[in-house]
């Protein structure tokens, strides 16, 4: 490969003037466009803009979405499709429950048939779709036209309300109503069939028949080049989107799914990367310190809140503060040979606990803040794919909480993200690329992913990416947490990925569901024969999560599996595993 080519002064000037015509987000796209061209050796340069290709494989299709519990709406949706077909047009009937919402923005002909249940609610399986449509994630539908049929029962107060809501919401999103909504009572057949006649007539005049080749517009493949992903010094502005507690009621854990909304949809990360979050300390915590030390300048409080590390206690601080406060116990802890006692002291305390146990009046604020480390951003493995969730970055954040002798203490970032940030609040973030923890280039390479607790986050990004790219290489996920019922993070999504084939296998270990503690390494050992076979076939192995216990336990389990299944002694087995690391086939992201 060539080294960086230089441009002539003339080229550089033309490029600069050219660049001024575009927005920064367009620059990103353009850089990808040129990268794509380079990879293709210049092929496809003309025509330069969008390429229009004749294609008979993807004719224009009407989408018939139905929401049903009893099957009536489904039956009617099928009738609509049949009617289209009899006139030579293509349509597909899809249950709202199964519809991939990311396709919505490309639909042009949307026909909805929905029942109403209970107090004007959508049918149960259709609820997520209804919620999606009225959420911030719903796309603009300016290119679409639509019609809605409601099924209901006039003996209910909110007759056909779900259909009314749908009808109004589609309009709100910019779609054009082609036919007025019709509401059917329990004897729906006649009314519904009349409506179907009309709707098929009205839509088919705007559609290309299926038999003739239709024009299908393809964009050139955008390759992600240099990503405008921000940095610690220049973080990006973002806002807090959805925040969901992932642990079911009754759990003794609190793990949140956090959606960070970016300013635009440009992809700025790859699965496996981390997100740096610029954090601030809790005002209440700052006040507790300010109060204990008798500071009365606002400047000191502000500095403590935004710039100083207050949650991590270090031996250096104990030493400095012990001297400044002339605290004999602290000095003793800092003396040579008292390391164990010092560790025990540090283990369940924060700065504030030391300050409150040994308060000093009259200390200069600058002297105190000088003892503290600067407050650094916190990094979280990203739990979403930029392709699958454009404009969003998802995190999986476990609450860090422990009991100090004085009070319940919280981790700075988890409390910031999980509790202190208000709905839609602004925050600052940047992507920390992690090129050592990426999916293999060849989508057919099998992957084994091992993670406990929040360690599962990057695998969600992996599988999302594989789904959105339609890659079905073999994948095997090992997940562990405390209890099946409440702590199975992203359970419903994994189940769907397995059903759809984007996740081949999954094994789970829940430590507290049985007498004997069960962890991921136990599940690995149970499947040692197959694990070894996958490795022999070239599988890449990922480990993410707890560095203290989980990662070494998994490491030892791997050595044992290689020894037992490969007929190696322990030394050879270690070498085998080390070779995996050297070959970049054993990747770890542990913390």
């Amino acid at each position: 490969m060539q080294l960086i080519p230089t441009l002539t002064a003339d080229q550089m000037a033309r490029l600069s003037s050219f660049a001024r015509e575009f927005s920064p987000s367009q620059w990103v796209w353009i850089s990808g466009y040129f990268a794509g061209l380079a990879q293709a050796g210049g092929a496809g340069l003309a025509p330069a803009q969008t390429q229009v290709v004749a294609s008979s494989s993807a004719p224009e299709q009407a989408l018939v979405l139905y929401g049903t519990e009893t099957g009536n709406a489904k039956g009617l949706a099928k009738k609509v499709v049949e009617q289209f077909a009899s006139r030579g047009f293509e349509a597909r009937a899809v249950d709202m429950e199964a519809y991939k919402t990311r396709e919505l923005k490309t639909e042009k002909h949307i026909i909805v048939i929905t029942a109403t249940h209970g107090e004007g609610d959508p049918p149960d399986p259709a609820r997520p779709f209804f919620e999606f449509l009225s959420s911030k994630k719903a796309p603009k539908l300016n290119q679409a036209h639509f019609a809605v049929l409601g099924l209901g029962d006039t003996s209910y107060e909110f007759f056909c309300k779900a259909a009314h809501d749908m009808d109004a919401q589609l309009e709100t999103l910019g779609a054009v109503r082609l036919l007025d909504r019709v509401d059917c009572d329990v004897d729906y057949e006649e009314t519904a069939h009349a409506w179907i006649e009309q709707v098929v007539e009205a839509f088919s005049t705007r559609m290309e028949p299926a038999s003739s080749p239709s024009l299908h517009v393809e964009s050139p493949h955008a390759v992600v080049g240099e990503l405008a992903h921000g940095s610690e010094d220049q973080p990006l502005h973002a806002t807090l989107g959805e925040r969901v507690l992932l642990n079911g009621r009754g759990s003794d854990k609190a793990t949140y799914h956090i959606e960070v909304m970016l300013e635009n949809d440009d992809p700025i990360h790859h699965p496996g990367d981390a997100l740096g979050v610029v954090v601030e300390n809790d005002v209440a915590l700052v006040e507790e310190i300010v109060h204990a030390l008798g500071f009365n300048s606002n400047g000191a409080a502000e500095k403590l809140r935004r710039e100083c590390e207050l949650t991590i206690l270090t031996p250096k601080f104990i030493k400095a503060y012990g001297e400044a406060a002339d605290a004999a116990e602290l000095k003793a802890l800092s003396a040579e040979g008292n390391r164990d006692a010092l560790n025990a002291y540090i283990n369940n305390r924060q700065i504030v606990d030391v300050v409150r146990e040994y308060p000093v009046q009259g200390m200069a604020p600058d002297l105190f803040t000088g003892m503290l480390r600067p407050l650094k951003p916190r990094l979280y493995s990203i739990a979403s794919s930029a392709e699958a969730c454009p404009g969003e970055i998802h995190l999986t954040v476990a609450e860090v909480v422990y009991e100090s002798p004085l009070a319940k203490r919280y981790g700075v970032a988890s409390a910031y993200l999980n509790h202190r940030l208000e709905e839609s609040a602004a925050l600052r973030v940047y992507v920390e690329p992690n090129t050592r923890f990426r999916l293999p280039d060849d989508p057919q390479t099998p992957v084994i992913m091992i993670g406990a607790g929040t360690g599962v986050a990057p695998y969600r990004a992996f599988i999302q990416e594989r789904e959105v790219r339609g890659q079905e290489g073999r994948s095997w996920l090992f997940f562990g947490d405390r209890r099946f019922r409440t702590d199975f993070l992203y359970q419903a999504e994994w189940q769907q990925y397995i059903k759809d084939g984007y996740l081949t296998r999954m094994d789970v270990a829940f430590s507290r569901d049985q007498e004997r503690k069960m962890y991921v390494q136990h599940r690995l050992l149970e499947h040692g024969k197959e694990i070894f076979a996958w490795l022999e076939e070239g599988a890449i192995l990922y480990v993410c999560g707890d560095a203290k216990h989980m990662a070494p336990d998994v490491h030892n389990a791997l050595i044992r599996i290689v020894a037992e299944q490969g007929g190696h002694d322990e030394e050879a087995a270690r070498e085998y595993v080390n070779a995996l690391t050297a070959d970049k086939r054993y990747k770890r992201d542990v913390y």
Binding site: Y156, L489, M506
Partner: protein, 582 residues
Amino acid sequence: MSAKPKTDETVLTPDQRPHDVSQPLDKLDPVEKIKADGNYLRGTIKQSLEDRLTYAVRDNDTKTLKFFGIYQQDDRDIRDERRHQKLEPAYSFMVRLRIPGGVITPKQWLKLDELARTHANGTLRITDRQTFQYHGVLKPNLKSLMQGFRDVGLDCIAACGDVNRGVLAAPNTHLSTVHADVYAIACAVSNHLRPQTSAYAEIWYDEKPTGPDEEPLYGPTYLPRKFKIAFAVPPSNDVDVYAHDIGFVAIEEKGKLAGFNVLVGGGMGRTDNANQTYPRLGSLIGFIPPDRVTDVAEKTVTIQRDYGDRVNRAHARFKYTLDDRGLDWFKNELHQRLGYTLDAPRPFSFDNNTDRFGWVQSDDGLWHYTLFVLTGRIKDDAGTRVMSALRAIAGQHTGEFRLTPNQNVIISKVAGKDKAIIEALLAEHHLGEANEISFRQKAAIACVALPTCGLAMAEAERYLPSLIDKIDRLLEKTGLSDQPITIRMTGCPNGCGRPYIAELGFSGRAPGKYNMYLGGGAHGQRLNKLYRENIGEEQILEELTMLFTRYAAERAPGEPFGDYVIRAGFVPEVKEGRFFND
């Protein structure tokens, strides 16, 4: 599988039988295919139980599991919450035992009580079919629960599903020999109609397959729909004998069991807005001696097996087979299959369909204490510790327990000298005759409904007691405090709480909304009629205020509420089920 009777084709040609088992499988309801493909109730249950990624089973297996008394449910109160949390619904299973006649020993009671606390949600639910239901059983605990039942000689086979289900027998505490005889016959019928597949032992007890299965009675696709049998002993109709596919009414002569009158074609289930569905009361077709009961039950079941509607499940109960083809056709078919005819029915009469609470002495000198259990739920709560009380009693009691079809429990066969022990234990747990619960509350039935039942559209068990408190106050105001009225509520139209034979019935339509029915017979002898559709509590109480005021002023001496509302023209009398929707 036994060959179908040769007479079939000579009776009706295939084109006259477009809905029954004579059709090819692909023309039938999808559940028929699940049964046919299920290899005698195996399905893929084993694989479903081994799947560690979900506490649910595969869709098809939810159908097959019913034959083992197991329903997959989820906590609907938190369904939405968990969906947002990206967790699957809080799946658990309802497990229903097969306890013919509702009779269990103290030893069995203790085990069932223990299993409720170790394997379920810590409560036992008595149903109106004289059995126990466990709620909140998690998939990994199913197998050991079933093995726990086995350890005390109990099982769950055919407690649900398209088969003959748990057989009811009047818990009759007056006549000891008649109870013993009727109970023995009920057990014999339950066992005779029990599915024979060894799938149950393979799946739940890990037993090896014992060879090719067959179902000599049912065949590989079992029945088109559930089938229910009950035995009543007049003058009490506590089993609601008219509400079953077959009802046997014991005819007692001189303290001995002479035989049974036979009723056929009863059933409660209906579907809202489907006028071809309706509740129906059993039709009286004759009298048989005790030794022909099993034969008559079996032949009736085989007729329904061969002629029941397998295309439309909402129309598959035996009652529709009877109404579609006529009672004479059925009697003719039955007599042919039996090889003899039934005798003329003998006279009998009922005077109630509820329980008598407190102590009763039977003719053998033993005592029986009927304990009221609010909506059948055995649990401990702040005021009353029913579960602890019954556990303590089971630890001392030497007789038996009988579950009643009104969802109460009888501490049965107590020697006179032991009465004081039982009374002391009841008092210790704040139970017993002193409690001031209205007899309308005591006579009421509510099904389980929300949050576990997947069919429920509205509350029942969690709501009815508070509604009855309000109804009681209305009755007090109108001077009707002493008037018994049967009140029943179900969370959906399927009728598990037998609402369509109550004097005042409710079926759920939506949260807080009910259909209100009036005019049922005071001892279960007449269907009620829809009076108001889809109304909330406020309107229910308004209507009742008006009705009770009129009733108090206009009733004839001794005239039950259900009779009055018909005479006064609030609802027409429903003379037959097929006119229920007129």
